[in-house]
């Protein structure tokens, strides 16, 4: 038995090594200076250049217009992540409330119309979506960045599923006590959904923060760049330079993964709950 356990642990440790080592190397390397990396390659030891590199990355104005800093990109990423998560929760709770708790004629039709959005991801309709945004002159705005991403049904289904599991007696009791639809929603359903809201918020924040294709299309003005969208620009600057700024590229990669990774680690339980229960 013991021999088998040991083997299990070996497999797991190998797995952990493969998943964790690249990020550790990326972080350690980012604390060296560019010439050092160029000479000695990636590194597993502390380079002592941490403050300098990260300070440059966060505050130096760069890009083609010379107006964008790392800090600004982090700010934009935060707006996208939080805006997307909050928008998603509000929209989908309201829609799910209508579908589960109201009897109305077009209910089934609306349900299927929302359901259909699950069939076609944004990636297959990027060009026409871009055209629509152009017509509405929403390119290079936060609205254009966030709102179109909300046009999918994932959150609605999650809350629909949850509302259906709420005991019927609650509504009966609330109605006997004279609560109307608004009161029932705000005083009963929202407090009941607190953990669900937290779980969904985490998933959606990570999803929003990590968006790449849509921000790439929507924002050509560097002031609206998110960190993840800015990555491509960093790589393009490399082409043609003698000693690429490996340290800065690694530092930006670390900054781009830090907030979502921290959230997943800190709220691990909610994160797993939200993930495994929302996608089904």
């Amino acid at each position: 038995m013991n021999r088998i356990r040991l083997f299990d642990h070996l497999v797991l440790m190998l797995g952990v090594f493969v998943m964790v080592a690249p990020v550790v190397v990326a972080f350690m390397t980012s604390t060296h200076d560019a010439a050092d990396i160029h000479r000695n390659g990636l590194s597993l030891t502390w380079g002592g250049n941490f403050a300098e590199t990260y300070n440059t990355v966060l505050t130096r104005k760069g890009g083609f217009t010379g107006e964008i800093t790392g800090a600004r990109m982090i700010w934009n990423s935060l707006i996208l992540g939080v805006g997307f998560a909050a928008g998603k929760i509000v929209l989908s709770m309201l829609a799910a409330y209508a579908i589960v708790y109201f009897r109305f004629r077009l209910g089934t039709l609306f349900f299927w119309m929302i359901f259909t959005t699950l069939l076609l991801p944004l990636e297959v309709r990027i060009v026409p979506s871009y055209e629509v945004m152009n017509k509405l002159s929403l390119t290079n705005t936060y609205t254009g960045l966030i709102v179109p991403l909300l046009a999918s049904a994932t959150g609605t289904f999650f809350f629909r599923q949850f509302f259906k599991s709420v005991p019927e007696e609650l509504l009966e009791a609330a109605r006997i006590d004279g609560a109307g639809p608004f009161k029932f929603f705000i005083d009963v359903l929202v407090p009941l959904s607190r953990t669900m809201i937290a779980a969904i918020f985490i998933i959606m924040f990570v999803y929003g923060w990590n968006q790449y294709l849509w921000p790439t299309l929507m924002t050509t003005d560097e002031r609206f760049f998110t960190l993840v969208r800015g990555i491509k620009q960093i790589l393009l600057v490399w082409v043609g330079s003698n000693i690429p700024d490996y340290n800065e590229a690694f530092a930006l990669a670390i900054l781009a993964m830090l907030p979502p990774v921290m959230i997943v680690l800190i709220f691990q339980r909610w994160f797993i709950k939200g993930l495994t229960e929302s996608d089904k």
Binding site: L12, L94, L106, A151, T156, V228
Partner: protein, 293 residues
């Protein structure tokens, strides 16, 4: 649906209005436009468009380049799905089996989920860099001169490795939570009936995991088809000419770099059909063969 419901002539519409408005403007309108413009040839200077019937479709499907990209997409999707699902399952089964340190392993294995595909691609670029990349040096030990970004196959392999790496935690999380929902009584009965752990896995664990695994199969295919866009975009750095790309990337290239609106829309519609078929397949065909507990 609930037995007890509110009935109000306008309230449900009010609650649904924001969601429906956004879906109409940003989902139905563009989707219909994609279908419509796939039948037209756009004038490159913006002077109107001509109806060309199905010729955008036949141009796309008939082109040698499109066919080779489609072939690569199939191989790429199959490998990414198979490898990330396989490795994720292996790790989940092991994490479920060990008694000590299970939650530590879990924590260490899941957080890579939060890394965005292009960020993973950026890291991949540096690990496969010609000058500093440790993985290139490692390959050189076996006499393999990896040239990621220049050599078609080498780039493909690097792209697959990065995409799989990024997707392992997702599969791990789902399979582990599936494993943990298997009742202890079932496990104990199986342990009494069958001593071989390997056989227990095939005859008890895997059938019970089947719903999760099939769900993950579809999710992984969608991931490989669409979400890897960031990995590919970062790793080919706009020089798609000699590098492997997927069909979604070609839609993007033709639509935004090549300004071929009709052709790009036709390709979009082809992809829509692929996704549609996948989803129908998921609902109709696969679910029937799965054991539910």
């Amino acid at each position: 649906m609930k037995r007890v419901q509110f009935s109000s002539p306008f309230l449900p519409y009010l609650f649904l209005a924001p969601q429906m408005a956004i879906i109409f403007v940003f989902f139905y309108w563009p989707s219909i436009q994609a279908i419509q413009s796939s039948f037209y040839l756009e004038d490159p200077f913006g002077f109107g468009s001509t109806f060309v019937g199905l010729s955008n479709y036949s141009d796309a499907l008939g082109s040698v380049q499109y066919q080779s990209i489609a072939r690569f997409t199939v191989v790429f999707t199959a490998l990414v799905t198979f490898l990330s699902l396989g490795i994720g399952m292996l790790l989940a089964v092991k994490a479920d089996a060990v008694l000590k340190g299970s939650s530590t392993y879990k924590t260490l294995l899941i957080w890579v989920y939060a890394i965005a595909p292009p960020v993973a691609g950026l890291m991949g670029m540096m690990f496969f860099d010609q000058h500093i990349g440790p993985l290139v040096k490692f390959a050189a030990l076996f006499g393999w001169d990896m040239k990621v970004g220049l050599n078609y196959n080498d780039t493909a392999i690097a792209m697959i490795i990065v995409s799989v790496w990024k997707q392992i935690p997702y599969n791990f999380i789902f399979i582990l939570s599936g494993l943990q929902s298997i009742p202890a009584s079932v496990r104990e009965a199986a342990t009494i009936d069958c001593r071989s752990g390997f056989r227990r896995f095939w005859t008890m664990t895997l059938p019970l995991l089947a719903p999760t695994a099939f769900f993950l199969l579809i999710i992984n295919m969608t991931y490989a088809l669409f979400d890897t866009f960031g990995v590919i975009d970062v790793m080919v750095k706009d020089k798609a000419a000699n590098n492997p790309i997927t069909l979604v990337y070609k839609v993007y290239m033709d639509g935004f770099r090549g300004n071929d609106l009709g052709g790009s829309s036709a390709q979009s519609v082809i992809l829509m059909i692929v996704v549609f078929v996948l989803t129908i397949f998921q609902f109709r065909f696969i679910e029937r063969r799965v054991h539910y507990n």
